[in-house]
């Protein structure tokens, strides 16, 4: 017979029971309550340990010392168990609550293994409380219902992303990582990474995307009119092959300069010296300087560069945030439009650059889909979050500042891997976005160790506290060893000086 952890006390409900114990179980441990011919699975969500005698009315440590000496470790343990479902009835929530006094015993390893073993699954790690139980999540559900990986800095976010990506690659999946810090160019276990430089051909850019790059504000409608006309002319010339290799931006600038100097008329009017034209010319000049590297008229459609079975890394480490927003929105918009066409065509996609599902990993999601400002990328992230599952597009939002993520997008992420989160505002924001994150589990978030996570959502039948596998690339995502680096630089400099000194001495003479 299994060891009894404790017994239910007080009023029990269909979703939660409280218990008292003399043994110390672990938070996150799965337990079983057998009653009314049911074998109900539950998870210990909170634990407190107390002593009737050593209470908060004692103000002298010596008193505590004596009580402890006499009573020893006579503590009680009170906890709460969240009911997860009847093991013998496909984890349906039972219709009757447990009788008070019901024994709480550890869930059997066999039962847990059955629950966490799935077909088409991705192995995330092992249960924190039962290390011999491997936690596998449903990859299809992870993909179609989107996911968020949330944690404070240094809690193991990048490692978790790597584990997820590796799991996708195991099935020859197509993963796109928007790599804000150029850190994902690593060897994955199940596939290589392919770094794609963020070059966009203006031919494939929408007007609003290029307008955003030029920083023409929504209220500057006269500037927008000049800019739009120049864009149209440049686009037409580029399509006709009349750009004489000047480049799209340069071409737009020349059109505007011709209006400014009076050489050409704007819509049949002479607009020579119009201040707004000068403003637009300046902004285009600025755009040219800043985004020269990402706008390339010779670049093909970026979607056609994505490969199956590889981690396609869009390296955004060298571009600023607004350029990153444009690139992300550009890729997501094109992917959604592409996949809508692909699925409508119902064949291999014909000439479409993409003809398969894609899983997008968005690092720094709070920058790309921020809570309190409007960005182009936010619009498309939110659209894919809503519609993506119907068109074979999955999203993974990764952030160290969940409170700054757009709540609409976050709430669409049905699956969550939440590592250590200390900030209360972050916790509340995540809780409001996830119906399955209980108050008790939120309280556990600050106490998670590095690499430990709460895993929730449809991808797992039941919430789990998981020790995420450590990716083979251990250095990955870790802080720099600055002291060691300083030491090495100092030694290198010293060595260089000594070498030079020796060289000079070897020249001979009276040095």
């Amino acid at each position: 017979m299994s060891k009894i952890i404790g017994r239910c006390i007080g009023e029990t409900s269909l979703v939660e029971v409280s218990f008292i114990s003399k043994e110390m179980p672990q938070v996150g441990e799965y337990v079983s309550l057998k009653y009314d011919n049911k074998n109900v699975l539950g998870m210990i969500e909170s634990l407190v340990r107390g002593s009737v005698s050593i209470n908060d009315e004692i103000f002298d440590p010596k008193t505590i010392e004596k009580i402890k000496e006499i009573e020893g470790d006579d503590h009680y343990i009170r906890g709460s168990v969240r009911i997860l479902g009847d093991i013998s009835d496909n984890l349906r929530i039972p219709r009757t609550p447990a009788p008070p006094g019901t024994e709480i015993i550890p869930a059997s390893q066999d039962d847990l293994q059955k629950i966490f073993q799935k077909e088409n699954s991705l192995s995330l790690g092992t249960l924190i409380s039962q290390e011999n139980v491997e936690v596998k999540v449903d990859l299809e559900k992870m993909f179609s219902r989107h996911m968020a990986i949330l944690a404070m800095t240094g809690a193991g976010k990048s490692n978790t992303v790597a584990i997820v990506v590796d799991g996708m690659l195991q099935y020859n999946g197509c993963v796109v990582i928007f790599d804000m810090h150029s850190e994902y160019n690593i060897n994955f276990n199940n596939g290589k990474s392919k770094v794609i430089s963020p070059e966009i051909n203006p031919l494939y850019m929408s007007f609003s995307e290029i307008k955003r790059l030029a920083r023409i504000s929504e209220s500057a409608f006269i500037q927008e009119r000049y800019f739009f006309e120049a864009y149209k002319i440049a686009m037409a010339e580029m399509r006709n092959g009349d750009t004489q290799n000047k480049g799209f931006i340069r071409n737009m600038k020349e059109v505007l300069e011709a209006w400014d100097s009076g050489k050409k008329e704007f819509r049949g009017q002479n607009v020579e010296g119009a201040t707004q034209i000068v403003d637009v010319i300046n902004k285009i000049g600025d755009l040219e300087r800043r985004y020269n590297s990402i706008i390339n008229t010779n670049a093909g459609n970026i979607l056609s560069k994505l490969e199956l079975g590889k981690a396609n890394i869009i390296d955004l480490g060298s571009v600023d945030e607004s350029a990153a927003e444009v690139i992300v929105s550009h890729i997501l918009r094109n992917a959604l439009q592409n996949n809508k066409k692909w699925l409508k065509m119902g064949n291999d996609g014909g000439d479409l650059p993409l003809a398969h599902p894609v899983f997008f990993v968005l690092e720094e999601a709070h920058i790309l889909a921020p809570n309190n400002r409007s960005t182009k990328s936010k619009l498309w992230i939110s659209r894919i979050a809503r519609e993506g599952r119907k068109f074979g597009l999955g999203l993974c939002l990764v952030s160290q500042s969940p409170k700054s993520i757009d709540p609409d997008s976050l709430s669409q992420a049905n699956n969550m891997i939440i590592l250590r989160l200390v900030e209360p505002k972050d916790q509340r924001h995540v809780q409001s976005a996830s119906e399955s994150l209980s108050e008790d589990l939120v309280k556990q978030l600050p106490s998670l160790n590095v690499g430990e996570a709460v895993v929730l959502g449809l991808m797992t039948k039941i919430p789990a506290l998981v020790k995420i596998h450590e990716h083979k690339n251990k250095e990955f995502g870790q802080d720099l060893a600055v002291i060691e680096m300083w030491k090495k630089t100092t030694e290198d400099t010293k060595k260089k000086y000594e070498d030079e000194k020796e060289d000079i001495m070897n020249l001979g003479g009276d040095y």
Binding site: S53, K62, T63, K66, I70, E71, G72
Partner: protein, 351 residues
């Protein structure tokens, strides 16, 4: 509370405070009876034991429901305990309070006796005054005639004594209730008298453990030291905030109790008590001690050192724990009553 009460209290405040000043102004010089002494915590092989009892009741229109618990703790390296409890109902009569107090005392004392049988220890700390239990007027002593009392004694005493030898923690006298009901017209009074006899017999058995018994009271109104309206305890407490003890007083039961005890009279009258006050920790509560034997000052100091080693906040922890464990609070009574499922009215529903 009426607002007029508040007004009256404010009006009389100055008068009451000045009365209080006068009260203390007449205070005697207590320093001659007080010995300042810094007790050391003696860590030796001494084993201590302590016990307490608790009673709570709920009066319904037709009957009284009561609950009684007693606990004895024994500590030497690890804590052992003996617990006993009971619940029952009792008809209304004029002596309910006294009778239930006697019941609780019986449970507490019998529990203590059981600990003497089952465990080896050096001291049993008794919560309250042992002498107080003895000098209190005997219930039903006046209500029943000498003839009836003798009749009760002759009819039941030896049987009761035999019952007590079974060493069960229970109200042994109640075994004779049916018989008494048939035999005596004033059956309740007769029963209470028999229960009183049982209590005296049990106290005598406990006191026969002599030097192992230490009575400790948190409060006392006795004025044997100074003979004033202010109790001795209040005077010592006010004047001596540091550790120490009062010069012991030796008291014979025979001097304070005029009547004869219906049982064990010679034994009780032969008893000599050592009474003193002590503060075991600076500024903590003053305690009153009673030892059922004549103890020297050296013996008192040795005993207090031992007790201090078991004290928290200047009070023996075992006694405190026994009290905390055993106490039947209002909320506990509510739980018991819910469990009983009484549908009886208590007559206070409209409040």
């Amino acid at each position: 509370m009426l607002e007029t009460l508040l007004e009256i209290a404010l009006g009389k405040r100055a008068e009451i405070l000045s009365k209080l000043d006068e009260f203390y102004a007449t205070g005697p010089d207590t320093s001659k009876s007080w010995v300042e002494y810094s007790f050391s915590e003696t860590k030796n092989d001494t084993t201590l034991s302590a016990g307490d009892g608790s009673i709570n009741k709920k009066k319904f229109l037709s009957f009284v429901f009561y609950a009684i618990s007693a606990e004895t703790l024994i500590y030497k390296n690890k804590l052992e305990k003996i617990e006993n409890s009971t619940v029952d109902i009792m008809p209304h009569h004029g002596f309910v309070e006294d009778r239930l107090r006697n019941y609780m005392s019986l449970y507490e004392l019998k529990n203590a006796l059981k600990s003497f049988d089952d465990y080896e220890f050096d001291y049993y700390l008794f919560d309250g005054s042992i002498m107080g239990n003895l000098i209190r007027p005997l219930p039903m002593d006046r209500e029943l005639s000498t003839k009836i009392k003798e009749n009760i004694k002759s009819s039941y005493l030896s049987a009761l004594d035999a019952e007590l030898h079974r060493k069960q923690v229970e109200i042994s006298a109640s075994k004779f209730e049916d018989h008494i009901s048939e035999k005596f017209a004033n059956k309740t009074e007769a029963m209470i008298y028999l229960e009183t006899l049982e209590n005296l017999l049990i106290i005598s058995r406990l006191l026969k453990n002599g030097r192992k018994i230490v009575g400790i009271s948190k409060t006392s109104t006795s004025n044997d030291y100074f003979g004033l309206d202010i109790p001795d305890m209040a005077l010592f407490d006010r004047n001596h905030r540091q550790q120490g003890y009062s010069q012991p007083m030796y008291q014979k039961v025979s001097k304070t109790v005029k009547h004869d005890f219906p049982v064990e009279n010679n034994y009780f009258r032969s008893l000599k008590f050592t009474v003193f006050y002590a503060r075991l920790e600076d500024n903590k509560n003053l305690l009153k001690f009673e030892l059922p034997y004549k103890a020297t000052e050296e013996e008192i100091i040795e005993l207090l050192n031992i007790i201090k080693s078991n004290c928290t906040e200047g009070y023996p922890y075992l006694l405190k724990k026994a009290h905390n464990d055993v106490v039947i609070k209002k909320i506990d009574m509510s739980r018991l009553l819910r469990m009983m499922g009484f549908i009886e009215k208590d007559g206070r529903e409209m409040l």
